[in-house]
Symmetry: C2
C-alpha cells in the first residue's frame, strides 16, 4: 500500500501575515471564539454535559438538541487552532487554554465507563444508544469530538481530549466491527468517517482507518441499515423522522438525502443534503489516498465532475434547494431562492483540498479558492458578528445576516476553517513544495534533510504579482517548486527567478520550477488579473442572458446602494470597459452599462423603454449586505 505522497504543512509551520486574511482571522480569534464560548455557556451546551441519567425512561421529553456535543467540539477545535498559532499579544492564551481544559473536563465527566460519550443518550435516552443512527446525529457528534481531540493534541501536545476520543472510538470500533451490536451500521450524517482518518494519522492506529472504510463501504448496501434499525425499533423513530429531516430515512428520497441510496463506490451524482455529501466525499478522498483505493478515487472524480459541471454556483456555493439543504437537479441553480449553505461551501473546501492531495491537480484548488473567497466568506458580516446560513446570489432587498441560529452549525464551522487556513496554503511531497494559495506569510518545512523556509508576499487577492524568497536553506537545495496557475488568470503567467524571466513547464495546472535553490533566491510570479465577465451555461435558467463580474478569485456582485437604480434595471454592456478601483481594502469594478428608465406614463406600452448610459459599480460578493438592505445580484443582464 503506497504511503501518502502529498501532505499539508502543519499549521504551526505556516505563517499568515497578510492584509486580507489576517484581520479576518483576528476577528475570529478575538470576537467569534469568545462569543461562541459565551453562547455555549448561556445556551446550556456545557451544562448539558453534567446531566445524569434520568429515572423515568418513559418520559420522552427532549431536554436538549441531539447535536449539542458537536457545537462544543467545533468550538474546542477552533480554539485549539488558535492555541497552535497565536502570536497575538492581545490574546490571552492562558485563559483560552484554561477554558478549553474546562470543557474537556466536562466531556471527561460525561464519558461512561466503557468509553461511550454522548450525553443525550446517557442522560435523556439511556439504553437507546446506537439504535437510531439514521436520525440521531450520534456518530456525527462523535466525529466532531474526534476532530477536536486531534486538533487539541496537535496544537498543545496534550492528550487529555485525544485519550477521551480514542476510548470512544475504540468502543465504536467494537460495536460496529464484526460481531458487534451495530455491525453493518453507519452514520445518518456523515462526519465520523473523515474524523477517523485524522485519528489514524494522529495515532498511527490502523484500525481507525479500517473502521472509516467499513462505514464508507457499508453505506448504501442492502438491506439498508436504516431500514434494519427501524425494524428493530418497530419503526418508531426516537426523534420523529419528519422533525429531524425532511424525508423518511427509509424511502428513496430519504436515502438520497443522506447519500445512503446506493453503495458509495457506485455513486456518480451529487444528491441530497450537501454538507452530508461533502463530508462523505472528504472521507472517500482520504481513504483513496491512504489506501491507494482506485475505486474510491474513481467515485470521487465522478462525483466531482457532476458537481462542478452541473451543481456549483459561481461563488463556490452548492446545495441550491432549501427544502433539503441540498442539491437540486442539474443546472437548477436559482439566484434569488438558492440555498448555498455556508457549511456546504466549507465542506467543499475540505473536499477539494483532499482531492488535490490525492491527484496533484490544481483544478481542485481552483474550486477551493472560488468557494473560500466567495461562498464561504459571505457567510459572515464584515465585523464578524452576523452570519448567513444560506448565501443567495440575488436579493430583492429583504435579505440580511442574523446574529445566531438555533442550529448554529455555520458560525463555528467558519471559525475552525479560518483558524486553520494555514493547512490549505502549502503542500509538501518528496520532490518539494506546492503553493496552492497566494497568501503573504511563510512556510517552514524539511526537504532533502534540510530545514527550509520560504516566504511569500503579494497584495493578493487584489494583485496577481506574487514574490517568493528562499530565506532559509543550509546548502544548495535541489527541489521542485510548484506554483498554481489559477484558471481565472486572464493571460499566460510570467515567472522570473532572481530577476530573469524563465520559461517553465506546466503540469496539472502548476508551473513547475525544478532547480537547485540557494538561500536568497527570489521567484516572482505574475498572474494577469484583468476583470472579466463570466457567463453560465444557458441551461441554468435563472442566469441566462446575464453575466457575473470576476477579477482574480473574487466574484463580484452589484448592490443597489452603489448604483443608479435597483439592480434588475441595470444592464452591463457586453463589450464595455471594465475598470478596477481599489479602496478601503477591496476592489470595485466599474462596468459600462445602461439603466432602463421609468416609463413616462403608462405601466405597459409597446415602445421599448428608454435606456440611459450608466456606470455600474460592483463590490466583492463576500462583502455584500454590510450597508443596509437593498437589491443585490451576482448575475446582471448584459447587452448581446
Amino acid at each position: 500500500m503506497p504511503a501518502p505522497h502529498r501532505t499539508s504543512l502543519h499549521i504551526a509551520d505556516v505563517a499568515i501575515a497578510d492584509e486580507f486574511w489576517s484581520p479576518r482571522r483576528e476577528t475570529v480569534r478575538t470576537r467569534t471564539i469568545p462569543h461562541q464560548e459565551t453562547r455555549l455557556r448561556e445556551g446550556g451546551q456545557f451544562e448539558a454535559l453534567l446531566l445524569k441519567p434520568r429515572s423515568h425512561d418513559d418520559d420522552d421529553r427532549e431536554l436538549f438538541p441531539i447535536f449539542w456535543e458537536s457545537d462544543v467540539a467545533k468550538w474546542i477545535e477552533a480554539a485549539s487552532y488558535v492555541l497552535a498559532t497565536a502570536d497575538d499579544p492581545e490574546l490571552d492564551s492562558a485563559s483560552l487554554n484554561s477554558a478549553v481544559d474546562k470543557a474537556i473536563d466536562l466531556l471527561a465527566g460525561a464519558q461512561q465507563e466503557d468509553g461511550y460519550l454522548n450525553n443525550y443518550f446517557t442522560a435523556v435516552k439511556p439504553g437507546k444508544r446506537f439504535t437510531d443512527l439514521g436520525d440521531a446525529h450520534e456518530l456525527y457528534c462523535a466525529g466532531h469530538l474526534i476532530e477536536a481531540g486531534v486538533a487539541h493534541y496537535e496544537a498543545t501536545g496534550k492528550t487529555s481530549l485525544l485519550d477521551i476520543v480514542r476510548r470512544y472510538a475504540d468502543l465504536i470500533d467494537r460495536e460496529f466491527g464484526p460481531g458487534g451490536s451495530c455491525e453493518g451500521g453507519y452514520d445518518g450524517h456523515q462526519e465520523i468517517e473523515l474524523a477517523l482518518v485524522k485519528l489514524h494519522r494522529a495515532t498511527g492506529e490502523r484500525r481507525y482507518l479500517d473502521l472509516s472504510l467499513r462505514f464508507i463501504d457499508n453505506r448504501g448496501t442492502q438491506p439498508f441499515y436504516f431500514d434494519v434499525e427501524g425494524e428493530r425499533r418497530g419503526h418508531a423513530g426516537y426523534f420523529g423522522g419528519r422533525e429531524q429531516r425532511p424525508f423518511n430515512p427509509r424511502d428513496q428520497r430519504g436515502r438520497e438525502y443522506a447519500q445512503s441510496h446506493a453503495p458509495v463506490r457506485e455513486q456518480d451524482a451529487a444528491v441530497g443534503h450537501s454538507v452530508r455529501a461533502m463530508y462523505q466525499y472528504c472521507a472517500m478522498a482520504d481513504l483513496a489516498l491512504e489506501l491507494g483505493d482506485e475505486g474510491l478515487r474513481a467515485a470521487c472524480e465522478r462525483l466531482w465532475d457532476d458537481l462542478v459541471s452541473t451543481k456549483l454556483y459561481v461563488t463556490g456555493g452548492l446545495g441550491s434547494d432549501p427544502s433539503i439543504e441540498g442539491f437540486g437537479k442539474p443546472y437548477d441553480l436559482p439566484d434569488y431562492t438558492g440555498y448555498a449553505e455556508t457549511c456546504a461551501a466549507i465542506g467543499l473546501v475540505f473536499w477539494a483540498h483532499r482531492m488535490m492531495l490525492l491527484t496533484g491537480d490544481a483544478k481542485y484548488v481552483d474550486v477551493l479558492e472560488r468557494a473560500l473567497y466567495n461562498g464561504v466568506l459571505s457567510g459572515a458580516s464584515a465585523d464578524g458578528t452576523k452570519y448567513f446560513y444560506g448565501n443567495p446570489l440575488a436579493s430583492d432587498g429583504t435579505v440580511e445576516r442574523s446574529d445566531w441560529f438555533d442550529c448554529a452549525c455555520c458560525p463555528p464551522n467558519l471559525a475552525r476553517l479560518l483558524t486553520s487556513l494555514e493547512q490549505y496554503v502549502y503542500v509538501a511531497d518528496a520532490e518539494g513544495l506546492w503553493v496552492n494559495l497566494y497568501v503573504t506569510g511563510s512556510a517552514r518545512f524539511a526537504h532533502g534533510g534540510q530545514r527550509v523556509t520560504v516566504t511569500q508576499e503579494s497584495g493578493y487577492p487584489w494583485d496577481g504579482a506574487i514574490a517568493f524568497q528562499i530565506t532559509e536553506a543550509e546548502a544548495p537545495l535541489p527541489m521542485t517548486l510548484r506554483l498554481r496557475l489559477p484558471e481565472w488568470a486572464t493571460g499566460p503567467a510570467r515567472v522570473s527567478v532572481n530577476g530573469t524571466v524563465l520559461p517553465y513547464t506546466t503540469d496539472k495546472g502548476y508551473a513547475v520550477l525544478d532547480r537547485t535553490w540557494t538561500a536568497g533566491d527570489r521567484v516572482e510570479l505574475h498572474l494577469p488579473m484583468a476583470p472579466a465577465l463570466v457567463r453560465a451555461d444557458p441551461r441554468v435558467l435563472s442566469t441566462v442572458g446575464k453575466v457575473a463580474v470576476q477579477r482574480g478569485p473574487i466574484v463580484h456582485c452589484v448592490e443597489e446602494i452603489d448604483n443608479a437604480a435597483p439592480v434588475p434595471r441595470l444592464v452591463i454592456a457586453r463589450s464595455g470597459e471594465l475598470r478596477t478601483e481599489h479602496a478601503d481594502g477591496q476592489d470595485s469594478i466599474i462596468a459600462e452599462g445602461l439603466v432602463d428608465a421609468p416609463a413616462a406614463d403608462s405601466l405597459y406600452a409597446t415602445e421599448p423603454p428608454a435606456a440611459e448610459p450608466t456606470a455600474i459599480r460592483t463590490v466583492p460578493y463576500y462583502a455584500w449586505a454590510n450597508r443596509g438592505k437593498g437589491t443585490m445580484a451576482v448575475w446582471v443582464r448584459e447587452t448581446p
Copy 2:
C-alpha cells in the same frame, strides 16, 4: 338626485352565439354547475343548513367553515343566470329549477323568526351573531345571498329567495342603523355593500341604498369598529384572527388588509386583500352613480389610477402578494411568484363595468376586456374541470390547475361571471346603444318608444372585423351608436355604414355614430389587430428587459412544449416579424428569436453562449397548462 344615465341591458335581452364564449358558457352550464351542486351536496354545505342550535355553547368545535352560505348563494346565482337565458335543449331547466328551489327551501328553513339567516351563528355559535364582523364573513355571506335572491327573482320572476333576503336585509338595516346594536359597524370582507345596491334596484327600496352608503361611510372611521367590537368581546376572536386572515384586524396592516385603515372617501391607493378591495370599489362606483356622489366618484378614480398605473398585471390579474391574497407595493408584480387570484380579476371586471357606467369612458372597458380574456379565463382548464386560484405569469414547470379548493371561491365566481356575461356587452342610455364588447349575437332594447334589435357578428377575438345590423326597428330611428375603440388597436379603426366608409367622431374611446337608422342598416367596424410586443415600466423588476406578445385583447405566453428549449432560454428579436397562425380555435404568434445553446464543456465560461436562430411560438395565456407541465412565461427576454 340624478337617475342613472347608463344601464346594462338585461341578460335575457342579449344573446351570445359566438365561437369563443358560447362553448365556454356551455361547459359552465352542462358541467360546472351540476358539478358544483354535487360538491355542495357531498361537501355538506346544503346539509349544514339543516343544523339546529347546539345545546352546549361552551363546545367551541367548528362544525363547518363560516363562509359556506356564500358557496350555496353563488351556486344559486349562477344557476339563476342559466335559467334566465338557457335555450339549450340538452339542459334540463325543470330539473335545475327544482334543484334551485330545494336549496331555497333549505335557506328558508334556516332563516330565523326575526329574519336572521346564517346557520353558522344559528347552530354553532348561538348568541354571537354580529359580534365579530372583522373575521366572521357574516355580512359577506349575507351579500352573496342577496345577490342570489336578486338574480333568482330577475331570472324566474319568483320571489321565494328575494323575500328571504329582504327579511334578512331588513334585520341588518335595523341592527346597523341608528340606535341598532351594531351601529357604526361594517363587513370584514366587503360584499354586502354592492349587493344592497342590487337589492335597491330590484325592489325600488331606498333604504337598501342608504344602508349600503352607511357601510361605506362607516368604514375606516375612528374609533375603528373592529377595535370596538374586539373590546366588547375582550379581544377574544371567535375564529382566532391568525387563522382567518394573516393579520390582526386591529393593527395597521390588518386594517389595510380589509381596506378599513382610512375613511373610504380618503383612500387613494389599492392596498390589502384584492377581492375585498374590488368589491368595495364596486359599491363605491354604484353609489356614486345612483347618488351622483362626487366624493365617491373621485375616490374611485384615484384608486383606479393607482391600480392601473402601478399594480396591474398585463393579464388583468391583480393582487401580487400571496401572503395576503392582495396588493404588493407599487410595481411589485413578480412573474413566477405572483398571486393574481382569479376572483380578483373577476372583481376587476365587476368594478371596471361600473366605472364605465359611471363615466362613459371606454378606458375602463379596455381593462375589463384585458382581465376577462386573460387573467379571468386562465382560471379554468380548457375542459372546465380544473381551476387556478392564483394565476402566475411564469412557471418553472411545477404549476398546474387543481380539481377544487377547500376555500372554493374562484370556481363558482367564474361560473356566475360567464353565465351573466351578457350584461357586459351592451349598455343603453337615453341617446342610444353603447357596444363595449365584441361578441357575436344580438341585443334587444327600447329606444325612442320603439323596440330595436341589433345583431353583431365577428370572429372576435381573432379578427377585428365586426359587423352590426339593425334587424328590428319599426320606424326611422334617431339613435347614437357608440362602438368602443380598443386601446390595443394597432392603427385607426375604419367604420362603414351600408358599405360606405364614413368619418366618425370619437368620445372617451368610442366611435360615435349619431344618425337616423332604419331596419337593415349595416355597420362595419374594422379594428387593426396586428400582433405586437408589449413592455412594462422598468420599475417592474421581474419583467425588465422582457416583452409580452399581444394580439387584440389576447395576451399570449410561451410554453416549453411548443418551443426548442425551456422558455427562459428563448429571446425574442425586438425587430423581428410576428406571424399569426390560427388553428384549433385559437391564435398562435410565431416570433423570430434566438435560443441560447447549452455550453460545450464547462458550467461557467467567459465566452458568451452561442445563440441560434429559432422560431418562438406562443399560445393565448388563458390556454396555458392544458398540455402537461413545462416552463411557461408571459414575459420573454428580448434582444435590444
